[in-house]
Every structure is written in C-alpha cells, then in structure tokens.
Amino acid sequence: MAFKNDEQAKAYWSENLSLMFKLLAIWFLVSFGFGILLVDVLNEISFFGFKLGFWFSQQGAIYTFVALIIVYAMKMNALDKKYGVDE
C-alpha cells in the first residue's frame, strides 16, 4: 500500500469506481442501447447515408469504444498522480 492513509485509499478507489461506471454507462448506451434495443427507432433517422441504428451497430459503437478507452487511460493516469500512486 502506497497511500498516505486509509482515507486516501478509499477516496482513490471511489473516484476510480465512479469513472469506471460513468464510462461503462456510455459503453452500454451506444452498443446495447443505440445498436440493439433502440435500433428500430434510430433507423428512422438518416445519417450520412446510413440508418442511424445500423450505423451505431456497425461503426459508431466502435468509435465510441476507442474514445472511452483513451479517456479512461488519461483520467486514470492523472488520478494516480493526484494521489501520488503513479510510477
């Protein structure tokens, strides 16, 4: 354990979890939400020649996933610094 005290460790962990759950909520929304559950509704909308729901399932979800992982890497590495647990 490299935290100054238990409080620090708890605060770090809860910030970590909250970031993770926010990102997972977006993850669920673009794939299971837009790509599957809401696909019929979104398909009514045309998006650069694609039906929007279809586009999310075959393109949009993947772009969002990439963005999620990049945000996660940057924010977590910053969080490590803030709590002095970076290497």
């Binding site: 354990m1 970590n16 299971f32 559950l37 020649g49 772009y63 992982i69 996660y72 647990v85």
Partner: protein
C-alpha cells in the same frame, strides 16, 4: 508474374521475416518466455495484442459473415470490441498489478485454493484448443487455395514456422513477430477495401464509402441497393437482419464477457512495465483493432453487391456458367463454392434457399469463409493484392495460434507443474517443460488442422460461452469484492460452466433438430447462452459465499494491493 508466383514470393518473404525476428529475440529465462520480461513498449505491445486478438476468424470469416447476415453480423463487431472495453476498464490494470504470469495464477491466489487453480487451468486449456482448431482451418483454406498445395502440407509448413518462433522465442519472440504480423495483416485488409471503395463509390475511406451513393451513375445509396437486392432475392433486409432482438442482445453480451475472459489476451497485459503502460497499451490496441473492425462491415457491403452482380448479372437474369469468371471455377475446386444448375439453362443464379431444394431458385452455394479471400479476384484487383491478402490471412492465423500455444504451455509448465505438482523445479527445468509443452500442443493442433473436427463452427460457441461463464465473473469478483471466498467462487465457476456446456451440448449435439427459437430458453440461442451462464455464476457465487466462511485477512490485503497501481514493477519479480 502470375498470382501464384507472387503469392509464394510474398508469403515466403513474410515467413523469412518471422523467423528472423525469432532468432533475434530468443528467450533466456522463464520471465522472458512467459511475459517477455515485462519490458515491452506500450505502442508495440498494443500492436502485438491487436494481432493476437484478431484471429483467422476476424480476418477471414468476419466480413464474410456480415456480408451474408447484414445487421445481425454486427454482434461480432460490437461483441468483440465491446468486450475489449470491459477488459481494459475492469480487468487489465488490476491483473497487471497482481503481477504474476497467468489467469489461473490469479484465480488460485485470490481464492487461496488449488482446486480453483485447477478448474481455471482446465478451462484455459480447453478454450485455447477450441480456438486453435479454428485457426488451423484458416491456414488450411489459405494454403489450399492460393498455394495449391495439399491442406496437410499447408498445415505442416504453418506449424514449423510457429514452432520456430513460439518455442524458441516464447512471449518475447511472439510479441515482436506479432508486431510484424499486425502490419502485414492490416495492410492486406485495407488495400482491397480502399480499392473497392474507390471503384464503387469514389470515396477513399471505406468507412464513409459504405454509406455513400454508388459511382455507377444511378445515384443510389449503396445500402439502399443492398436492401433492395436482399429483399428481391428472398433474404431479410440487409440493414435489419433476421434474428430476434433478445438473441442479438444475448449474443453480443456473451461475446463481450467471453472476450474479456480470454486467457491469451489477458496475458498480453502482463508484458508491459507498469500499470500506467497497461492502460496506454490497451488504448493503442483498440485503435489498431478498430481500423480493421470498422473496415470489415464496409468490405462486407461492397463484397455483397459485387458478388450478386457478378453471379446474377447486372440485369439480374443470371450469368452463363460457361463464361463464369475464373474465381468461381478456382473456388469450386476447393469445394467452397458449389453450382447446381437446377433449371438446366446453363446460367448461374443466386438467391435465398438451399441449392438442393427444388422450390428455391438458388443454384449456387457460397461458403462465407471465402468472401474476404475471394473479394480481390471478384473485383478484378491486381495480382499483388491477391497475394497480399493470402499473406495477411496467414499472418492473422499464425499470430493468434502462437499466443494460444503460449498460454497452453504456460498453463502446463507454470500452473500445473511449478505451482501444483512439482514446486521445487528450477527456472531452467521449468523453461524446458514450457518448450516441451509447446511442442506437444503444436502437434495436437496440427492433428486438428489436418483432421478438422466437423463441429469446429459449433465449438467456437463453447470457447466464448466458457470464458463468459467461468473466468469473467471469478476475476471481476476477485477484484471488486473483498468478501467473495473460495467456496463461492468455485461453486459459481462450476455451476456457470455446467449450465452453459449443458445448454450448448443439448442443442448442438444431442438434439440438433430442436435447435430453433421456440425451444430456446427466453429465445436465446446457444451462441448467446454464455450471458445467462455468467448470471448463474454470479448468483450461485454470492449465495454460497453468504453461508460459508469469511476470507482470510491476507487475501483482503492482496485485494487492497492490486487496487493500488504503485509498485507493479516490484510485484513482478516474485
């Protein structure tokens, strides 16, 4: 130069490169053999992981499946990439901090139990062999079509190459070879897609060309044309698909959690120096994967239009078989295209239905595995593109095979011998055992490659279902719960696996005739049942944990330590 000479040349050069790298990166210790000494740069590790991840199934089969299934094929795109997000956010950084070599290592230590470790080893080995069987089929298809050698010879050549760099170089050799393989496979995948996109829509990027209007002067959107063709020929609309929503949901979910539990991919994150690098490396990996995965559906769409137009003719009345393009004759020889002139008019016609069914107009059966490989020929692209695609397909199959072989050999030498049966063996002996295990595993895989079990396609559902219902919940609870004990974890894994295996075996092997939506549990197909297996695992684990003993204090300390990123490089040298 003709296609075959070019193919020999390009494939031969790529093999020479792999062997060269293997000789340069020989492994000297178990740590180098298992995790490349933990010293790989995140960017290079990202590429290697992407190559490891993208198997022959991704390269050869995925676009073909999407080409035939349209929207339904999206389950693979979202499932495989979405699972990667789970892996990067919920598993990889913690497992890296844990700092040992394998997934069974984590399960065994976290649940302080040899039984848990052994269950995990068995799952890992089973998943890996299932996967390898699929890779070998890919190698066989490429060799038999492009190099016109017997499938056996093709498999032997592939095995010798893998033997060289996996057995000599271990993870170190594999990692650097995979970097080269990624470059070859991504180039080979993009070139035909860009060519087609330019030809058909005038867009350089397949990702936008896919949604654009056709360049043939009709002003029609490509996807509208696809929808029109599909309905006309009796298929479901391309952009709608035919699977039920709950099944699409479950399959996507099972593929996601299954992917996140694949041992050969998890182990890749042990090869970078620090937890920070794990996160950065994961981001690079997904970028490299996304390049191929966003191109695949575009390629699928282009290939579909091209294929139907070539077979049925621009007027949709069928093309004379006597004037069939050479790719049809070439693939007929491999048995992956079959033509049955039902109405005897000498013309080929493609539509929905079986070619043996007199009620259907369909006269031509096309194996979906050939779409990616045949597309350059269908579109009349230059010979070097065809040769390049062959080299790319082989690169994809070999890189994944090597990663899987490493997990099998590590499981045997490290998890079974060192940690379970012979704790006193030296580093040198362990390394020798790892190499020996790799040789045995290669031999078994070669057998599967030459005598492919008829049920390869159905056992793939096993690999993901097993990983989803066993590893994923056990690892997640191991990291995020400080109360989950060994009784709960073992009961969860065993019940999750038994449920999933039972369901798949029942519908795939015992009563395949009942394998249809009305008999499925909640309308979920065997491909998607891993998601329910995962829920079973979680529920049973929590229930059992409530009525059994608390976990020991030192395990709670271990969980605390994997939650803090500092000190991963020390933790590594155990």
């Amino acid at each position: 130069m003709d296609v075959q000479t070019l193919t020999f040349l390009i494939v031969g050069l790529s093999f020479a490169l792999y062997i060269g790298i293997a000789v340069w990166a020989r492994a000297g210790s178990t740590k180098e053999f298992y995790v490349a000494g933990g010293g790989v740069h995140p960017f290079a590790n990202g590429m290697a992981t992407a190559a490891d991840w993208m198997s022959a199934a991704s390269f050869i089969s995925m676009a073909g499946i999407i080409s035939f299934a349209g929207y339904d094929g999206g389950v693979y795109l979202m499932g495989w990439t979405g699972g990667y997000v789970l892996l990067a956010l919920c598993l990889a950084p913690y497992l890296r901090k844990f700092g040992k070599f394998t997934v069974p290592d984590f399960i065994g230590d976290r649940y302080y139990s040899q039984t848990a470790r052994t269950v995990a080893v068995i799952c890992a080995i089973f998943i890996c062999f299932t996967y390898i069987a699929g890779q070998m089929r890919g190698v066989g298809v490429v060799f038999s079509r492009f190099l016109e050698v017997e499938i056996e010879t093709g498999v032997y050549i592939g095995m010798v190459i893998v033997f060289f760099y996996a057995v000599l170089g271990g993870m170190k050799g594999i990692t650097y070879t995979q970097v080269a393989q990624y470059c070859i496979l991504v180039f080979a995948y993009l070139v035909p897609a860009v060519f087609l996109s330019l030809m058909m829509t005038g867009h350089v990027l397949p990702q936008t060309g896919f949604g654009a209007t056709l360049a043939d002067g009709s002003g029609m959107y490509l996807l509208d044309k696809l929808d029109g063709l599909s309905t006309e020929l009796g298929f479901a609309q391309y952009t709608e698909g035919s699977k039920s929503m709950i099944d699409v949901f479950a399959i996507t979910g099972a593929l996601m959690v299954g992917t996140a539990g694949l041992p050969h991919v998890i182990v890749r994150f042990f090869t970078v120096p620090r937890v920070k690098d794990t996160r950065i490396s994961a981001a690079w990996t997904l970028i490299f994967i996304a390049i191929v995965y966003t191109t695949a559906p575009a390629l699928a769409g282009f290939a579909r239009v091209n294929m139907v137009d070539t077979i049925n003719g621009k007027d949709g009345a069928g093309t004379e078989y006597a004037q069939a393009p050479s790719w049809i004759k070439n693939w007929e020889k491999t048995g992956l295209i079959t033509f049955n002139d039902k109405n005897g008019d000498g013309k080929m016609f493609y539509s929905a239905g079986k070619i043996t069914d007199p009620a259907s107009k369909n006269e031509i059966k096309i194996d979906r595995d050939i779409i990616v490989l045949a597309t350059p020929e269908i579109a009349d692209l230059p010979a070097w593109v065809i040769a390049l695609v062959a080299a790319g397909g082989i690169a994809a199959a070999l890189s994944t095979t090597a990663g899987l072989l490493l997990v099998i050999s590590t499981s045997v030498s490290h998890d079974l011998l060192k940690r379970t049966f012979m704790p006193n063996i030296s580093d040198k002996q362990e390394l020798r055992a790892a190499r020996l295990a790799a040789v045995v595993a290669i031999t078994i895989s070669a057998y599967f490659g030459i005598n492919p079990p008829g049920f390869v396609a159905s056992v793939v559902a096993f690999a993901f279902g097993l990983a989803a219902s066993s590893f994923f919940p056990a690892i997640i609870m191991g990291i995020f719960s400080k109360t989950m004990n060994k009784e709960g974890a073992i009961a969860g894994m065993v019940s999750g696996i038994l449920f999933t295996i039972g369901y798949i075996v029942y519908f795939k092997f015992i009563s395949p005739d009942l394998n249809s939506a009305e008999n499925w549990l909640f309308g979920i197909s065997p491909e998607g049942i891993g998601l329910i297996g995962m829920v079973v695992n979680f529920v049973v684990a929590v229930a059992v944990q409530k009525v059994t003993k608390d976990i020991p204090a030192e395990v709670i300390e271990m969980v605390d330590s994997i939650r803090s990123p500092k000190g991963s490089s020390d933790a590594h040298a155990h």
